[in-house]
Amino acid sequence: MVSSFFSDILLHPLGIYVLALGAGFLIPLFDRAHRGSAVLVFFAALAGMVAIAGLNLLAIVNGAPSIDIETAGIAPPFSINLRFGLLEGGFVLAVNTAALLAAWHCLPALRQHASALLLFLIMVMGINGMIMTRDLFNLFIFIEITSIATYALIGMERTGSVLAAGFKYIIATSVATTFFLLGTIFIYYQVGTLNIDDIIVHADLIQGPIGFIATLFVLTSLLIELKPYPANGWGLDVYETAHSGIASLISVGVSAGVFFAIYKVLPLMDSYLTSIAFIGGATFLVSNIIGLKQDNARRLLGYSSIGQMGLLTLALALLLQLEASSQLVLVVGGLFINHMLAKAGLFWLAGIIDRSQLKDWCAIAQRPGLLLLLGIMMAALIGLPPFPGFWAKWQLVMILAEGGQYLWIAVVLIGSLLEAAYLFRWFSHARGTDNNSMGDSSTDEVPPQAVVSLAQQLPVAIATLLLFVIGYVMALAMNIETPGMFLPLLAGFALWLIDGIRGRLKALAMLLVVGAGGYWLTNDLDGINRLFSYLLVGGGLLVSIAVMYRNDDRRGFYPLLAVLLLSLAVLLRAKTSLEFFFGWELMTLSSYLLVTLGRNGVKPALNYLLFSLASAYFILAGFALAYAASGSLLLSDLGNSGDSIGLIFSLLAIGFVIKMGGFGVHIWLPGAYAEADDDFTALLSAVVSKAGIFGLVLIAANLGVQSDIGLDPTYVLGWIGILTATFGALMAVFQEDIKRMVAYSSMGQLGYIVTGIALMSHLGWVSALYMTVNHFLFKGILFLSIAGIVLRTNERMMYKMGGLIKNMPFTFVFTMIAIIAMSGVPPLTGFGGKWMLFNALMDKGWYFIAAFAFFSSAVAFLYMFRLLQTVFLGQRKLEHAQLREAPAILLAPQFIMIAAIMVISAYPRLLLDPLSAAIDPWISNTLVWEGFALQTQYGYWNAPMIMAVVGGVWMVPLIILLLVSLTMKIQKVEQFNIVYAAERPHRPEDTHFAYNFFAHYDRAIGFLVRPRATAFWNAAVEWSHTLASSLRVFYNGNGQTYALFILMYFVAMVLFNGGLGS
């Protein structure tokens, strides 16, 4: 009896209204007695609303039929009815949950007035009604109820700007609802009913100009409530000025209601789907462009909100148009939940941190918890894994590709990229642009930090948690391999929990976790994936040993590093393009955050993130096309893509090449490499860059070979690779900053690998993989050496160093060996790679590429020598006289890698045989061995013999010199004992030739490397800002103008859809 009372009466969806209205009556009563008790009633009512929605939704998910609520005891269409189905339930639950959290957030403001509590309940109830009602006029009522409550709540704060914004809001929405009413009544005139289901059944009665006007009025006024560009200035003003809790509820709650209303009436609007999609797309794109120029945090959120609603509208219209309504829950639902939690969370954060200008957000630079929340919200908003938006966007793009809507894919991806640009620019401000992680941050001026209590953070934290949970659920729905794919996040979370312990212990824990996790993830791989797992996971661990050279706190570093390394393992493990993309994005996000931890890493990290995201979106587009063409998500099915294979290859290759810092899109690379923490740079260059190579090999193998070799884009790719190599080397020559120089060098060396892969021949691939291993070894050594140097000298400019060979002999020897291995001088490993590449190039007939390869490896000598000369040789600075050798923990991984270089140099077959075997499934082996000699069509290479001969010809003169030395008195002299034109040197600084080392080279061909790419991208930023300025001229702040826009919007809709004549 009791239980049936509960389930039938109290827990009936109608209970939501009962609770809201009942509490509405009770609150003033209780308020008389005590404000606190009114608040209690308020929360009880909200919680009840959440509970009712949740329990009913649960029942429906478990198979119960959807609940129809009939009023006045008469069946529809003669009475108003409400429906609580799956979609409605989901929306209602989401909105009520958000409302509950928002209420918690703005409680301090709400409890000023009892009426505010009441209005809040009414507003939520109105939104619930908008979602549930099936009656058109009732919809109008609920819209107005919500609106009036909203107006009142906006006016809760009585400053001039809030009131002005509120007044504009009222004017705009009341004009819109007026038209809604007109449309409703016209529909009634034609159909004779107000019940939406009934109208849909009799949709054929809606005809002629009146029918046209009626549907258009209803649709347009609802669309306007969603604030489409350009008729949305009024919404922005409210987002900017109203209390953050109310703004968040307008953004996620009211919009959700209106959005659902549109969804309900859409069956009437089949002919307008294109217009709706266009409006949604344009709003999404334009809002995000304008957002680029916005520097007020709250207004920025407004743009983002509007953009997200545009995206939702776009997705809805397109899905219906493509008849993929079965995916609505996943795509639109996913996007909606994502937007709701993330956007509301951001509004709340904006509220509690209360800094209007973006640049003032450095107030949370020293608050890792808040930064984490902010970052998660932003990551979720732009659709990074594992949040719901990621899955929804993926699915949306896949469906669009299947439907051939390439233009819309472009709109979605470009819009997302723009959104990422401004959101993470904001994050950069919050991160603080020049943080000093070297441990002496106490001396820096720290801006006053925001004071935020845990209670204030609670709603945001809950939203974050929900994002994760829902993301995980969606992952399950997408048939992702769990928990394997989520292992990086779990590991990161576990390490984050112990982030308070000492530095080295944390590092050790990280190594253990990554080792175990990496082994678990990769031990059952085979073929080329296994090979890369040794390199990425094993190599990553090896280089990561060096992180223990620092014992300071490094908050967040180790968890993120674990996420990064394990996401690489996930990448290797991926069977489907979705899993691959998941791993890829996870890698992007974690490496971005790691770069921001560097000394001045925040700004370059933003560049890095944007280019990485652009790369990811190219990859996504490529995968989508492949899915559309082959109907399969399996990576091994990429090749079954028929005619579009060239396009797919190009898109994917562009993506991977961006990630590897290809020529022209390399500008993110030096900054990110240079400003990241020194040990992390080693990982970035030696390990993370290999992910791009893995991707390239993957697509080359699956796309290039299965369908005929000789794919045209590969030739272009070959040229891109070699130009990258050449210009990377040239730019490295002119750098003064040691890390930037080696970063450019890294870019150049990767260029050879790209060319090797592009060759699409066995030898080409073997050379590419061989160079990949080699690149890992020498770049790992180089960057770790540099880490040691920077640690000791606290300096990155090469001309401020010099003569360090005396203090750091081991580092010097390691660096020298690494450089010889890089340069391609026999007998070390570099030669083998160059030799095979050159042979493969000649074999393929790419002669001019071969010439470029030759030239760039010659240019590489310039910077390699410069590195050794200006840092280790020449004159040592006085202040460096007492420096010690780099710590042993930094040298240990280098030593292991040196040993590997030596072994591979002498017996390259140890490496070449497995490489060749890994390639075998795609291209059969063409390596011919004669004893230790490798034979190709052109030449031969006997590495052990070369090693022996070089060793011999080096030893003999050495022995002779030693013998001759016995007959001489050799005096070991100091650094100033040089011939100096009969004068004596005075300062090491002016005796050390290091600054602008290749000035003459610059004079000769420096014009080739003037920063054109940088200038281009800077100009691109300029253009987009100019575009943003011209696009936002509509927002002049005048409410009347806004009203005019709304009217004109109606007119435009009429004209656009064929005018009254249709």
Partner: protein
């Protein structure tokens, strides 16, 4: 006179209602003073109400009371549609509410910044 007489009353109401809507919109768009804009809104609102009423009116129809005078079978043709009238009642209430909120905003704005000119309330923009 005769033309007017020939016109069904509902059409006259409809036309004047639409006219009121337009006048109201014109007022909202051209009058800088908020109070005048609110008046414009009121006119629009009233216009819409008139349109609604006119939609349901059947010329020569009787009150929608089903009794002996109007048999059930005949009702559709002879009675005035009661639904729009009912809707108008609700709409008027809502319109009243909105107008009230608008006016209170106007009062508050005047208190906050001593002006009622809408073009002086443009500090949030771009």
């Amino acid at each position: 006179m005769s033309i007017l007489a020939d016109l069904p009353i509902s059409l006259i109401v409809l036309c004047s209602g639409l006219g009121l809507v337009l006048i109201g919109l014109w007022g909202m768009l051209t009058q800088r003073n908020m109070i005048r804009m609110i008046v414009g809104f009121s006119l629009t609102d009233t216009g819409v109400h008139m349109v609604m009423v006119s939609i349901g009116y059947v010329t020569g129809g009787t009150a929608p009371i089903i009794n002996d005078a109007v048999p059930m079978a005949d009702a559709v043709n002879r009675v005035v549609d009661p639904v729009p009238s009912a809707l108008v009642l609700t709409a008027i209430v809502i319109g009243l509410g909105v107008t009230a909120v608008m006016l209170s905003y106007a009062v508050r704005i005047y208190k906050a910044r001593k002006t009622l000119m809408i073009d002086e309330c443009t500090e949030s923009k771009w």
